[in-house]
């Protein structure tokens, strides 16, 4: 065992060179790389922390906006609901009013139709009654109804002789209005009767299709009439009573 001092010196030199080489090519690059990576990681973590804070702030803002939106939506929905309710109420009121109006119109229309029907029924009844009575009189008594009406009117004129006389003084003519034209002999009978009560007073004959069968004699302010209106009125009221009784009977039957 011996020490070669030349080798020792050379090895010391070699070792110092190796220290420099490793410092240059190993330690510094590795440690600087580690430091740089640590710095990079620290930077990234800092950035991540900032990003996390930003994300948290954004999340909080988002939640706040969401809550606000939900609240707005709720208020909006309530408002819309309220408006819809109001509109519904208004529409219901308008519809009810319209229905009421239509009902009233319908009832008025129904009433008008009913009145028209009754009027037509009245006329038809009068006409029918008149025809029936005419035929009955002809068949049974061998007399005309027009003639009988004329006689009836004349008898009524006789009971009003005083008023007729004063009215005839003021009147220029007498007018006999009938539903249909009177036969000649009936007209003659009336003229003869009037000549007896109011001499010189001319008598003219007119027709009115809307008038009930019968006759109306007007002398100034005096008017004498005989029509089948009273009979048809009685017939109409009788029919109405029967109809009402029949409807109530049907109602009861249905009930």
């Amino acid at each position: 065992m011996s020490i070669d001092w030349v080798t020792v010196v050379a090895q010391v030199g070699n070792f110092l060179v190796l220290v420099w080489l490793l410092k240059r090519f190993l330690y510094k690059p590795i440690l600087n790389g580690i430091d740089a990576r640590e710095a990079e990681i620290a930077t990234r973590m800092g950035e991540a922390e900032v990003a996390q804070k930003k994300a948290a702030a954004a999340e909080a803002e988002f939640l706040e906006q969401k809550q606000r939106l939900v609240a707005d939506n709720t208020a909006h929905a309530e408002q819309i609901h309220e408006q819809a309710e109001q509109e519904k109420e208004a529409l219901l009121v308008a519809t009810r009013k319209k229905l009421e109006q239509e009902k009233q119109d319908w009832q008025a229309h129904l009433e008008a139709e009913r009145e028209a029907f009754i009027r037509e029924l009245h006329l038809a009844s009068a006409e029918t009654l008149y025809q029936l009575v005419c035929r009955a009189l002809r068949d049974l008594a061998n007399e005309d109804l027009e003639e009988q009406i004329a006689l009836t009117v004349m008898s009524k004129l006789e009971s009003l002789a005083q008023e007729l006389t004063s009215a005839a003084d003021r009147a220029e003519q007498a007018i006999a209005t009938t539903h249909a034209p009177l036969p000649e002999h009936t007209q003659e009978t009336l003229r003869a009767g009037l000549e007896r009560l109011a001499p010189g007073l001319p008598l003219s004959f007119t027709t009115d299709a809307s008038q009930a069968p019968g006759m109306i004699l007007r002398i100034g302010s005096v008017q004498v009439a005989w029509t089948v209106d009273s009979y048809t009125d009685e017939l109409t009221s009788l029919l109405a009573d029967r109809l009402a009784a029949g409807e109530s009977g049907r109602v009861h039957n249905h009930g």
């Binding site: 690059p29 600087n32 580690i34 990576r37 990079e40």
Partner: protein, 231 residues
Amino acid sequence: MEMTPDETTLFTVWGIGINETVGYTWVVMILLTVASIVIARNLRPDVPPNRWRTTLEVIVTAIQSQIEEISPRSSRHVLYFSGTLFLFIALSNLLLVVPGFTPPTASLSTTAALALSVLIAVPLFGITGQGIRGYLKTYVQPSVIMLPFNIISEFSRGISLAIRLYGNVMSGAVIAGILLGIAPFFFPVVMDVLGLLTGLIQAYIFAILATVYISSATAVVGKPLHKEKDK
């Protein structure tokens, strides 16, 4: 039986004979340097480290953490010094398994050179850390009477370092040589495996002791290892 590689000339350069100790030391130096250059040539923070770079980082950071455990306020220069000691001795001892390779650490001249380096480095680190006055004061601590003992202690450290490393490495070679005569096939393999283990342990012990000596010399003043940056 050949006891030291100093006496064997490996090759001659310009008439100067290069013995095995120096020659194989250069081999170790070239291996370490080339490996470092190849692995650490592309170190960027944005490039993910590969397995070799990670291996080097693990080795370097392990040495660094060992030094920090001994002296938390050590300079980074201690890492360069002690780390190089460890890597050089460890690689030299590991290359024992390569046929025909004689570890430079099997030469007393190499271990003496390393011990001499430690012997010189300790006061240098001490003076750098504490200043020359502060460092010299340590020789008269706790009293002036201790001056000769401290000087003897300083030198005996170097000698013990040198002899310990040489003895451990050389003993393996000597024992392997003796056992080779007794059982030519079995024992040399076992002794080589054992030599790898003891070689690494010796590298560790040598580097740790050097660090301890340096840190004891720089105990008063020093800078944190991990905060110091090289210029």
